[in-house]
């Protein structure tokens, strides 16, 4: 017998390669570890296993033992233990590894089985790839190429089913393309907890449908589009817009809450077409909220700010304001800024001898991928030392100081002061230097406005609720007339008499590593794609607002509740 390498590992043999895998792994996942592809449709690593598509058929066998003595039976030809192969194919998704399991994925039986399954799946399939949005990322297309027989023997009439059902506000269904894998049904039931999808008229006319009178409209509905292995479920927003193979993929972070779900931004020639989830088993698994997928619309929004003067002129004007009112300057930073920007904000506040404050945003958590803290980077501000305590939702202190005439200049970075509780009169009483991407009451009242970038136009890092620092990368070039926040902040720091800081991330991270002990060993370049968890203990006493979400449990729910 093959002895397991560790008690919780089992050694299996896949196409002749031995590998030790954890107990409970199925054959598809075990094969993945030795780079063997077991084609599959219904199996999804984050959903229950149902075994209904039969695409993952494999041949398997177990080492032979003598039934009476349990002694291994050796094969005299090879000198190894004989393998008893099961004479029928088995499904890989529903077969968990057991010690000594042998698997063949390339045998004639497996090839036959795959061809047979593909043939049946294609019988009623419309074969409309030329007009199908899924083309290029379709498992059916890929596996028909890889494992299909290449020509059709079907001479009968194909089934006709509904071609464009609106399942909900964001998802369109083409029932003819559906291969009845049930992934979307299981997702809705198991993850979104909104069990509205199902198969009716089971048999030759099985049809995926939403319960009559209900809609697939939960905030996770677009995940069904992601996991649909074919082009049956399509995003109403993205449908017919662009061929996926033309799109460039950029790793990014969802900034709508402190969960920090990992995303892929799909763009072409400076235009973003869609946002999809990027798998991170410690943060968002393979899921993403629908609301996170429309954030890119901010890039081309009608209210984008654009500069009418050069940045030098603007900086000079800000510098004049700084000089005219020493000691009466306040800095309002943002928990929506990146770690790097917050680091610069701290430098700016120090150089201006001003105190820095942030604005908190609190909403209802959805227990999945949107947390109660709607700022993506409160913890970044703590780690960089920009703030010591958690921010408040209203700038009450600042309002009082303005009223008392103690503050004459406010530098607002990415925050609308009016939304944070300052009145129009208070805004009029001070000189405002505003940095932001979009117009609002503050930019309208500001003396100096620096148009800056949306998250999709810049690179940087965010620290999520788990104190996981994660990287987001620039997907599209900066809009005309907008300048990178870091460039603006670096010049403002210099204008305020602070140290010269590099706006280029590689150089900047050397400075950050030197000044921020928690980030001392980090560089931007080698931050892993799945992020890096920082030490949270220094902040254990703070009353964070988040409740439980996927892969996150608040450390001290009692404290949070008491102070809420």
């Amino acid at each position: 017998m093959i002895a397991p390498a560790k008690p919780d590992l089992v050694t299996v043999n896949i196409d002749g390669q031995e590998i030790a895998v954890p107990k409970g792994t199925n054959v598809i996942e075990a094969a993945r570890l030795v780079n063997v592809d077991v084609p599959h449709y219904c199996y999804h690593p984050k959903l229950s296993v149902v075994g209904n598509c039969r695409m993952c058929l494999i041949e398997m066998g177990m080492p032979a033992v003598d039934p009476a003595t349990k002694a291994p039976i050796m094969d005299p030809a090879t000198g190894k233990q004989k393998i008893n192969w099961i004479p029928r194919p088995q499904i890989g998704c529903g077969t968990n590894v057991s010690p000594g399991l042998h698997v063949k994925t390339t045998s004639p039986m497996v090839k036959d089985a795959r061809e047979g399954v593909m043939e049946f799946l294609l019988i009623n399939h419309p074969l409309d790839c030329p007009i199908c949005d899924q083309a290029g990322e379709c498992k059916l297309q890929e596996q028909a190429t890889g494992y299909g027989r290449g020509y059709s023997r079907f001479v009968e009439q194909k089934n006709v089913k509904p071609k464009r059902t609106q399942l909900g506000p964001r998802v369109t269904l083409d029932d003819e393309r559906c291969i009845l894998c049930s992934r979307c049904i299981r997702f809705s039931k198991e993850i979104a907890q909104d069990d509205v999808l199902g198969f009716v008229d089971r048999g030759s006319y099985s049809t995926l449908t939403c319960y009559p009178g209900k809609k697939l409209e939960n905030n996770y509905s677009l995940n069904t589009v992601d996991i649909c292995p074919v082009g049956a479920l399509t995003s109403t927003d993205f449908r017919f817009k662009m061929r996926v193979w033309f799109l460039k993929q950029t790793n990014a972070i969802d900034t709508e809450s402190s969960v920090g779900a990992n995303t892929l931004v799909w763009s072409r020639e400076g235009t973003i077409y869609r946002i999809t989830p990027r798998r991170n088993d410690e943060v968002n698994d393979t899921w993403l909220a629908d609301s996170a997928r429309v954030l890119y619309k901010a890039v081309k929004a009608a209210d984008r700010l654009a500069a009418t003067e050069t940045i030098e002129v603007l900086v000079a004007r800000a510098a004049a304001l700084f000089k005219s009112t020493p000691g009466a300057i306040a800095v309002v930073g943002s928990a929506r800024s990146t770690v790097e920007e917050q680091f610069f904000t701290r430098h700016l506040a120090t150089a201006l001898k001003a105190s820095a404050q942030l604005v908190s945003r609190v909403g209802q958590g959805d227990k999945l991928l949107i947390s109660a803290d709607r700022n993506p980077n409160v913890r970044g501000a703590l780690v960089t030392g920009l703030i010591k305590t958690l921010p408040a939702q209203q700038l009450t202190d600042l309002a009082a100081q303005i009223d008392a005439g103690k503050i004459k200049v406010v530098v607002a970075i990415n925050e609308d002061l009016a939304a944070a509780g300052l009145t129009a009169a208070q805004l009029a009483k001070v000189s405002i230097v505003y940095l932001g991407a979009h117009a609002n009451a503050t930019s309208a009242a500001a003396k100096v406005v620096f148009p800056t970038l949306t998250v999709f136009e810049k690179s940087g890092t965010y620290v999520n609720q788990q104190f996981r620092i994660q990287k987001t990368l620039k997907a599209v070039p900066a809009a005309a007339g907008a300048t990178d926040d870091l460039v603006v902040l670096a010049q403002l720091v210099a204008a305020a008499g602070g140290a010269a800081l590099p706006a280029e991330l590689g150089l900047l991270w050397k400075v950050i590593a030197a000044e921020v002990p928690a980030l001392a060993t980090m560089t931007f370049a080698n931050l892993p794609e799945t992020g890096l968890v920082l030490d949270a203990t220094p902040y254990a006493a703070l009353p964070f607002v988040e409740g439980e979400t996927l892969h996150y449990k608040p450390a001290q729910p009692a404290v949070a509740a008491a102070t809420a």
Binding site: D195, V196, D201, R202, Y211, K214
Partner: protein, 161 residues
Amino acid sequence: MNLKPETLSKIDEVITHYPTKRSATLPLLHLIQEDVGHLPPDTSEWVAAKLELQPINVLEVITFYPMFRQKPIGRRHIKVCRTLSCALLGGYKTCAAFEKEFHTHLGEVSPDGEVTVDFVECLASCGTAPVVMIDDELHEKVDCAKAKQLSDQIKAEAKKR
């Protein structure tokens, strides 16, 4: 959903027969169909609430079984067997005879409201083909003449009402 008190008590009783409520889906649907004659549109929601399921779970079951009817049928249900033995011995003709007698088509309610004729799979009496079931009663060796006789009988009873 307007069910008779007996049906309601049978429903509550039958739920207790199963370790999980979900398992009572089929018996409940049968009871409702017996009571109402078919499964009205709000069945899925009513059963789902009763069994702590979602309506789609029940609808999947209803649409799977041809014996669950989602539309009203005639006063009597004539089921003519269409499977091999019956087909060889004239089942198709028998079926056509019933359709003609009641001026109706398969699956529809006859204009007089008396019957619905269905062409169904094997009724497990292949030795006496062709066979027909009228409601719960089995009729054997039903050729066209016997079909006419059975139809006349139904019409006569209808007149008496």
